[in-house]
Point group: C2
Chain length 219, copies 2
Amino acid sequence: MNKEKIRVIVEEMIRNSLQKSKLVPIAASNRHIHLSPEHVERLFGRGYELTKLKDLSQPKQFAAKETVTLIGPKGKIQNVRILGPARGSTQVEVSLFDGYTLGVKPPIRNSGDINGSEPITILGPRGQITIKEGLICAARHIHMHTSDGETFGVHDGDLVQVKVDGVRGVIFSNVLIRVSPKYKLEMHIDLDEANAAGITNGKLGEIIAVESRKQVGGE
Amino acid sequence: MNKEKIRVIVEEMIRNSLQKSKLVPIAASNRHIHLSPEHVERLFGRGYELTKLKDLSQPKQFAAKETVTLIGPKGKIQNVRILGPARGSTQVEVSLFDGYTLGVKPPIRNSGDINGSEPITILGPRGQITIKEGLICAARHIHMHTSDGETFGVHDGDLVQVKVDGVRGVIFSNVLIRVSPKYKLEMHIDLDEANAAGITNGKLGEIIAVESRKQVGGE
């Protein structure tokens, strides 16, 4: 039995064990940006394509080697990582703390829900753009595979409570469930939330209650 | 009836109403430092005394006009407010985020419990000192007057759960109760915790459970 096979079996065992106890590994997201193909070209030059630095936990998502600078009315933040691949609309995700640094007030939003969110200026090596909306503070959420949803008894769009133990123990409310056959089980929070709960990457949270069900017809 | 009298009566009404529902006003503490009288002199010069900028919510505590710079292995933070009056031991309170900036790992501690905490260098206009311990990240806690403790049914040293509503709603665990006839009802958290829970000053939290009782003999 080769190493790869062992890895797959061990991952499967861990997964099964997590599902039984409704435990979810937690990852803290630092500030980052998703760029539209058009904005990649305006910031990095005609025909430019992002280069992969490393794979992210969610399939096909990657951290790019390229970074940009965010410029707000009160300050700027350098070395903001671009996540690929390029998307339909440019979206910038920062913490509320970053918002103070920049002098902007990012609304708490689910990824993709950028309508009426905050403007921000983005500086790249070959150009600078100002987007009228797209700056948000990402709402806490859990990615899970369709099979995890079935095991946990939750659906895409549900809101749950997640408990984290420790000296800075907290119970997070309003944690959005996102289910897809493309997702891998992981809860995403920002650095403010990670610090507040004393969380380092890989720490486990436990889904302890469903707060609200998305209206999708009889369960 | 003059304005001052009205203010006192309104404050009393709010207080009574808060006690009934176990609601506690929350204040976010930014990074700050308490200095020993000796360290005030070493940073600001012989015979120097701190000058009051404004009173704090807790009686006799004040924010001083003076600030210092914190210097860690990886970075420094300027304009760190001194809180007065001078204390027995110097204590520096920062957030975990500040810890990353400085390149140090402050332990989560109750105020005054600095034994074996982190070292830090402090720069003032007339001198620089390095303390061997005293850098902490303050554990979340609630100051309350003796009468609040009686109304809420909690004692000094108890740990409680506090619920905060909103889009970033959380339930904070391990919130230390501190009771004294010198205290005024207020929960103190740091900026990481305030951001994580979407809290602006004055927002209310609700004590929803007592997690552990301090062993003090029959209740």
